[in-house]
Symmetry: C2
Subunit: 140 residues, 2 copies
DNA sequence: TATTAAATGCAAGTCTATTGCATTTAGAAT
DNA sequence: ATTCTAAATGCAATAGACTTGCATTTAATA
């Protein structure tokens, strides 16, 4: 079954029509390793010889986020980034020198969340945790 | 020694002139429990019968951040918030219902940072970790 | 193929943040 | 106290991120 077909199914399940713009953005989110901002989406779409209005891109990314196809994340900057939501829960290592983003999969803070509930009575629904520093190459 | 005097000293140490706007903002950061955004700073200043240009507020907050008087933080939204930097390292519990922000002081993720260096070779300089959920009162 | 709710394009507008430049001011030097 | 000057501010213009209303187009169903 083709990737394209999978995407169509996924959109259908989310009650979203399979429009060219949505398929393209889904494909981008699928193929990229670094969470993308709207600017990156725009230039990707332009490269593929199609033109989609920025407002539409925002609307698509919002609907993806709402329907669980994408996750909206903030890497300590004044704009949102997006990544596919079909990846396992993870966090990011953001290199302050080259901007590269790696994922870390092993999240050990669930114990911490239980602890917070016990000590503070605060019920954690979700968390954000990002690490900023230098990747291996940029340390030299 | 008055708080005002302390603030003047601190500004002096940071090679920043003790202007009315700076003293006011420093006082606000000192007195508030929740990290403030620029809007909150503006309305605070207006309440105190003075008027400072938004551009100046941005410049002040940026200089405070650069000189270590304030910390810039992002609570998963498209704008910066600021808090005094003389508090101990801590993280936040943000209630998704009432918006209240609590601090958690015991940060147990330094071990995790060492682990990241060992496993990934990524040298962590700083991190962000925020928890979103429901505070005690909003759970009922 | 026709129908229609959903999606898009366009334009206008909001909010956050930045920058250049003329004017003002804090703080030091006199 | 007064003068001086670099630093700070106000103002206006601008950029970038994001939203919204409305007319038009289109995907998916009958």
């Amino acid at each position: 079954m083709s990737v394209n077909h999978d995407c169509r199914n996924e959109l259908k399940e989310a009650s979203l029509k399979a429009t060219p713009a949505r398929l393209a953005i889904l494909k981008l989110l699928e193929s990229t390793e670094k969470p993308v901002d709207v600017k990156a989406v725009r230039s990707f779409i332009r490269k593929n010889n199609s033109k989609t209005d920025p407002a539409t891109i925002f609307r698509i990314l919002n609907s993806f986020t709402k329907r669980g196809l994408a996750r909206q994340i903030y890497l300590n900057e004044s704009k949102a980034r997006y990544e596919r939501a079909n990846k396992i829960e993870h966090h990011h290592l953001i290199c302050q020198s080259c901007g590269q983003v790696q994922d870390i999969l092993d999240c050990t803070i669930f114990d911490l969340e239980k602890d917070i509930l016990k000590k503070k009575g605060f019920l954690v629904k979700t968390h954000s945790m990002e690490f900023f520093g230098l990747c291996l190459r940029c340390q030299h």
